[in-house]
């Protein structure tokens, strides 16, 4: 179920320079939302900017009927969004997209986020911890100050590992390198440690395209599987315009186009065809 709602802003906070957490009152959306889904958000009332902007659902509070978004100011649309204050109305369309598949058993679960990619993973990790399932969460950013949600995710009971480009905290390097190092250790995300175990795992990834491409390679090299949330420029957000095409394997050695908005944004690691 997806809706067009004129939602009231409950509050908005700058959580880090240029990054905002926006809480909306939208009970039906909160009730319907699943982790990995997104809202298509109208950022202004004029024709410039014209299109909505896709923003992942960061978390919901079904009791209060609230939906929260966590976003980075990337350009004009998000800049306009960041000026909203409590009481303002914002036109949102959603929840849209397929969302992450929650693990059925007790798999060894990794969540790997680059930068603002943590936004939808947080919702996923909440639901996961509701299932009493622990994940190993790898967060990457340029520097320590740019890591978001670290404490919140720890509070959910997951193990958090950090990577920064400048080494100001955690591993110095990319979060995919860190994943690659860690994936080789025989440590299960539930905390079990068995040096003889042949490790396997299921990876949930979200972040910039270049990072996800590397992540998919690393996942496959390690014999793991998983799913990643892709981004593409969107028009309609609901599958009608075909502007958000991504390539997936067609099973015959070639590719076919799918819609990030409707068939995704989450796709199996094995299916994505990278340019």
């Amino acid at each position: 179920m997806s809706l067009v709602v004129n939602a009231e802003v409950v509050e908005q906070n700058e959580v880090m320079q240029g990054h905002f957490r926006l809480a909306l009152n939208a009970p039906e959306v909160a009730a319907a939302a699943r982790p990995g889904q997104f809202l298509h958000v109208s950022c202004g009332n004029t024709y410039d900017p014209l299109l909505r902007r896709p923003i992942s659902i960061h978390t919901v509070d079904r009791q209060k009927g609230e939906v929260k978004l966590l976003y980075r100011v990337a350009g004009r649309g998000t800049a306009l969004l960041s000026r909203l204050k409590g009481g303002d109305l914002v036109d949102v369309l959603g929840p849209l997209g397929n969302g992450f598949t929650l693990p059925a058993g007790s798999e060894n679960v990794f969540a790997v986020a680059g930068g603002i990619g943590v936004a939808p993973l947080y919702f996923f990790l909440q639901e996961l911890s509701g299932l009493k399932h622990k994940a190993t969460v790898l967060l990457g950013a340029a520097a320590k100050e740019q890591l978001i949600c670290v404490d919140e995710i720890k509070a959910l009971g997951h193990t958090v590992l950090l990577a920064t480009d400048n080494g100001s905290t955690g591993h110095r390097g990319t979060v995919v390198e860190l994943f690659d190092l860690y994936a080789r250790l025989p440590v299960h995300s539930c905390g079990d440690y068995n040096p003889d175990e042949e490790m396997s795992g299921y990876v949930y990834g979200c972040g910039p395209a270049a990072m996800l491409k590397e992540l998919c390679a690393a996942v496959r090299e390690n014999g793991f599987s998983g799913e990643v949330s892709l981004e593409e420029r969107m028009g309609c957000g609901i599958g009608a315009c075909l502007s958000c095409a991504c390539k997936v394997k067609d099973g015959k050695g070639g590719f076919r186009h799918q819609r990030v908005c409707l068939d995704g944004p989450v796709f199996p690691v094995e299916e994505v065809v990278w340019a």
């Binding site: 179920m1 900017p49 420029r233 028009g235 009608a240 315009c241």
Partner: protein, 306 residues
Amino acid sequence: MSGLSVKVGGITMKNPVTTASGTFGFGPEYAPYIDLNRLGAIIVKGITLEPRPGNPTPRLVETPAGILNSIGLQNPGVEKFIEESLPYLSGFDLPVIVNIAGETVEDYAGLAAMLERAAGVAGLEVNISCPNVKKGGMQFGSDPVMAAEVTRAVKANTAKTVIVKLSPNVTSIVDVAEKVAEAGADALSMINTLLGMAIDVKTRRPILGNVMGGLSGPAVRPVAVRAVWQVYREVKLPIIGMGGIMTPDDALEFILAGATAVAVGTANFVNPRATVDIIDGIENYLAASGVQSIHELVGAAHNNSI
């Protein structure tokens, strides 16, 4: 017949509002947001004889009050369309207009013939803004003679209403309209997108995967209204007007310029309920201004100008 009802060729529409091809998928995408039965007609995504994978991404970029797109006619091909999409649409009380595109005159003829045999098609909208591969990639729609040729080929293969969709990227849209009318078109639709492009100053590359794309949205509305205005004066065929219609007033602007019906395109992306909001708005305008029938408004701005 209600005051909102119009006829485009042989197609009776319960109101003058339809959807612009390529912006409304094949229907089901918008069904969660509106009752499709409310539409005057539906014009579906452009169909080709064979399936087409479409262009590389990015396929869309926002521009001031507009968007550039280069989808590249991604579609499942006419056979799959007939099998999979037509049955869905037949469940509605809604004239279905199929937008067809080809690379040769024969493609268009073939599409018309196949759709003539299919149940549930009310009319064809002929997209002539496609490159003619036999003429070095020159667009059918850029030449009145080629445009007429395509029109004749389609008419020869169908008894359904044939609507030819004109391109604004021409020196004289009236010349094309006249030749297409002579060739037997039942109606015209206009405008298709304006040819445009955008370059990313950071990467110093064209943004669209396909370099150039089609401009649509509010930005183009003045060009579209002008095209309808000019053609209405010279050609006696019903016109489906489109290009940047976002509000009931925008739709009325096209009707006053001479459009019998209007199509809503890019607006659907901004507001999935745009079509029904526009239908409601037109109805209110008629009521508020005491106009009995929308026909009184078609082309009315011509009477009021010098």
